[in-house]
Symmetry: C2
């Protein structure tokens, strides 16, 4: 009951978001580093060696200092991950001009997200945390709402659809990066007849074209258009 993370209490010494913490005070010597430099070093580390390599010590070493020094700029590693996230989300800019129908515009946005996940695979391990949303993420969300402006449906449905689009993009990104990383080593495969039959007739006859686009289209139309197409 004492260390429960209070969300917006008014009395306790709650940890304030990284977005409201000032970069530096008004007195004292000029900082040797900057928040931007720290975030850039962390992103470079994550891009090249994976998220696990982004330790406070490693980031600090990349900047030529010690781990403890970083806490003059950030209050936790989670803050650093939040900053990294918002920074790369900024790479989604400039947003494509929404010409034509909203559906194709949304599919294009989804592809953009997929490309971002491809460029920064560590994003997949970071976005699912409860975190403090930054300005770039909000701008992206705002832009999605702009694209969906002409769609006549409850706003909550639009929220759901945008979140689901991001989720599907992350699923596809994971599918690409984790293709064939799991093994059946040590299990007796004989007990799974349909699996054996499937492997028997494998011979992958050319993958269906534009799986992402088709998935996003069927998903968004199903979620946002009034009458979902009944199967039949």
């Amino acid at each position: 009951m004492s260390d429960a993370p209070a969300s917006t209490g008014d009395g306790g010494p709650e940890r304030q978001s990284i977005w409201s913490r000032p970069e530096r005070g008004s007195r004292g010597p000029a900082p040797a580093h900057s928040r931007d430099a720290i975030v850039a070093a962390a992103i470079a580390l994550a891009d090249t060696e994976g998220l696990a390599a982004v330790s406070m010590r490693a980031v600090a070493a990349a900047l030529g200092t010690g781990a403890g020094s970083l806490y003059r700029y950030l209050s936790s590693r989670d803050d650093l991950l939040d900053l990294m996230t918002d920074r790369v989300v900024g790479e989604l800019r400039p947003y494509p001009e929404a010409e034509g129908d909203w559906l194709e515009a949304m599919v294009l946005l989804g592809r953009r997200q997929l490309a971002l996940f491809g460029a920064h695979p560590w994003l997949l391990d970071v976005i699912h945390r409860p975190s403090a949303v930054g300005p770039e993420s909000l701008a992206w969300f705002d832009n999605c709402l702009r694209v969906l402006e002409t769609v006549r449906c409850p706003v909550t449905d639009k929220f759901e659809a945008i979140a689901m689009m991001t989720g599907v993009a992350s699923l596809f990104a994971r599918r690409e990066s984790a293709a064939g990383t799991f093994s059946f080593a040590g299990v007796d495969v004989a007990a799974y007849p349909h699996l054996i039959a499937a492997f028997g007739q494998a011979s992958a006859p050319a993958p269906r074209a534009d799986l992402v686009g088709r998935t996003l289209r069927s998903l968004l139309t199903g979620l946002l258009l009034a009458e979902p197409t009944e199967v039949g």
Copy 2:
């Protein structure tokens, strides 16, 4: 180049999968614990206190022993997570009888997965690792293929569809558990006009019925039926 995880090499001292490691040898005293008991304790811990509480020390303490002792039964914490995963996947049994069309049967399977994610939220943080697939996971997969037996499409498409169904179930599960856990504290919201407008007309007019079912239906039909329904 030296510590790259060789997949099926024949020379090196590669770490064998937990599924092929025998529970105990033929000599020596009877073990004080069992793999099942360890996994059960770990799952109980994860269900009640979250995945972060599943440390080797905590699991060992729940069994009344020390952390190092667990390595007589498992070769790593990842092995423990694999065992936990496969064990709760077993809770998907008994598989519902597939009566009626395959689409409704698949939607039912998706709901089953969603319920499992709800019962064991830590599954969401565990399934995305590259891991050794266990017998229960294979059985589930085999059952999905059985349901899709009558569908005329390439096997690879069925693989994609099953994986995507699991992914969508995980997305919905995360949506439920993480409803409103992120905050905009410290960002200036004034710069996002569409977001403000959306909040203005909020008033959530009753959530659309059966979002999961509609999503899965539009997804599976889009992925598995020959001609995806063009919008319009």
